[in-house]
């Protein structure tokens, strides 16, 4: 599993002028992955997002260690990101931090230690 110590910096994020979706590189380096527009501006994503859905995977393809948690989480302004979660289960609504990680992760979600 990735550790922040070995990770590069968080990928820079872009926001589409056409559909307002935001996404970190390398998800769509040249064009918006949602609408295909190339008018992309730089944007800073919120450090903390909220889990939209998550699951703990217990049967995986050969070579993967189980269990692991996967989630989609929303980060302002307008980014929905997919990543592995560090820190166990992360039910819907859980606040997570975006943390840089090596390829192929690029980034992971870390469960906030003190959330309501």
């Amino acid at each position: 599993m990735s550790t922040p110590e070995t990770a590069s910096a968080l990928p820079a994020a872009r926001r589409c002028a056409c559909c307002d979706a935001a996404f970190p590189l390398p998800e769509g380096p040249d064009r918006c992955p949602y609408c295909g527009d190339d008018r992309l501006g730089e944007v800073t994503l919120a450090e903390t997002g909220e889990v939209v859905s998550s699951t703990v995977v217990r049967v995986a393809p050969p070579g993967a260690d189980v269990p692991y948690t996967l989630a989609y989480a929303d980060f302002a302004p307008g980014a929905r990101l997919f990543a592995r979660v560090r820190g166990g289960a992360a039910p819907i609504g859980t606040p997570v931090r975006l943390v840089a990680a090596p390829e192929p992760d690029h980034y992971i979600f870390e469960v906030e230690e003190h959330h309501p």
Partner: protein, 380 residues
């Protein structure tokens, strides 16, 4: 656009399951010959063919059709993930309805045994797949959100397996013919929370075929079942607007099929829908308008979707009982609709059925909410 009526006049299938000694060509060829025999047509009557297959490599249709004596005619190879079979039926219906051909063959076939350890992976290069987003995990994410949004009990998803395996027990063609209990479903191996093994369909080998004909080529001996409409839709990138727990591609495909057939969901007597995973049936039933948003799980638990209920869903056992040879599944569903609409479904017969629907939806690339969904509406 004027369009001609299109009938199914012949059906054939190789029961889904493990056929270790049969090749893709063997499987598809058998189903195609059976469909021709039922229609009472020589191979030379076929003017074009539409083949659905996902994993068999290039030109699967031509290789299969050589075994059925169909040569030289236009052959279209359709690949749309788990919706491939429905895609082939849709294209074939349009070709006949438009007056391009009078008699065409549809064949869906898949050979999966021995090809995979565990679940299928259609694209190993996209980031979510590299991070371990398996097919069951994609459906699990939808299940979690469905339960959260509707206050549903995730354990109730087991009732979909209980219903469909009970239906499969009455289907001689089903891969699994043993009913299961709620406790057995919930106690089976956890795969991706909340889905357990008995909530996931099985890979299978199999094939199914149809002969379609324009009205002028149909005679009374054919016992025709009419393809009244069909629709196809594709997925969208998963993004800020994605509503997990719903199937937008299925909703779009259904809307197009209902419009083409000129019918509304309340007129449907029975449906074969894509229950690759238990939550898949729930999302699909709602996308098809057979239950309101957030109502499908209650409908299953209340028996509304069982044989004898308001609108039986997967009375043939569904993918959960029949297995899922991906390219054959959608064609096999239409074979099942034809049996029901001809009143020849035996123990699983839905009484008085005159209008029926088949639905598939295919995922596989995790950056999209689906690859494709297809819906076919048939009637007598």
């Amino acid at each position: 656009m004027t369009s001609r009526r299109v009938a199914v006049i012949g059906t054939g299938s190789v029961p889904f399951g493990k056929h270790e000694d049969a090749s893709l060509e063997d499987l598809g060829g058998s189903a195609a010959r059976a469909a021709l025999a039922e229609a009472g047509f020589e191979p030379g009557r076929i003017e074009a063919a539409f083949s659905s297959n996902v994993l068999g490599g290039g030109g699967a249709g031509q290789r299969i059709l050589a075994r059925a004596g169909v040569h030289g005619v236009p052959v279209v190879n359709a690949e749309n993930a788990c919706a491939s079979g429905t895609t082939a039926v849709h294209l074939a219906r349009l070709a006949v309805a438009a007056g391009v051909h009078d008699v065409v063959l549809v064949v869906g076939a898949e050979k999966m045994t021995g090809r995979f350890q565990g679940g299928i992976t259609l694209d190993r290069t996209d980031r979510p797949t590299l991070l371990g987003l398996t097919m069951p995990a994609i459906y699990a994410l939808n299940a979690q959100r469905y339960a959260y949004d509707h206050g549903a009990d995730l354990d109730d998803l087991a009732e979909v397996s209980v219903k469909n395996r009970a239906a499969g027990a009455a289907n001689p063609q089903a891969m699994f013919r043993k009913p299961v209990t709620r406790a057995e479903v919930l106690g089976s191996r956890p795969v991706a929370d909340p889905l357990t093994l008995l909530q996931c369909c099985a890979n299978a080998d199999g094939a199914a075929a149809l002969v379609l004909a324009a009205e002028n080529a149909v005679s009374s001996r054919h016992d025709p079942v009419w393809l009244l409409g069909s629709g196809l839709a594709s997925g969208s990138p998963i993004g800020p607007a994605t509503e997990f727990g719903t199937s937008r591609p299925s909703r779009l495909a259904a809307r197009r099929a209902y419009a083409a057939a000129g019918v509304t969901p309340d007129a449907i007597d029975l449906a074969e829908v894509h229950d690759a995973f238990t939550i898949g049936e729930i999302m699909s039933v709602e996308a098809l308008g057979l239950a309101g948003p957030g109502k499908a799980l209650h409908a299953v638990a209340g028996g509304e979707l069982s044989l004898g209920g308001r609108v039986p869903v997967n009375a043939g056992g569904g993918l959960l009982s029949k297995g899922h040879p991906v390219g054959a599944t959608g064609v096999g569903q239409v074979v099942e609709l034809v049996a029901q609409l001809r009143g020849r479904a035996g123990e699983r017969q839905v009484g008085g059925a005159s209008l029926a629907l088949a639905h598939t939806v295919g995922g596989g690339v995790a950056t999209l909410d689906a690859i494709a969904s297809g819906v076919v509406i048939a009637g007598v």
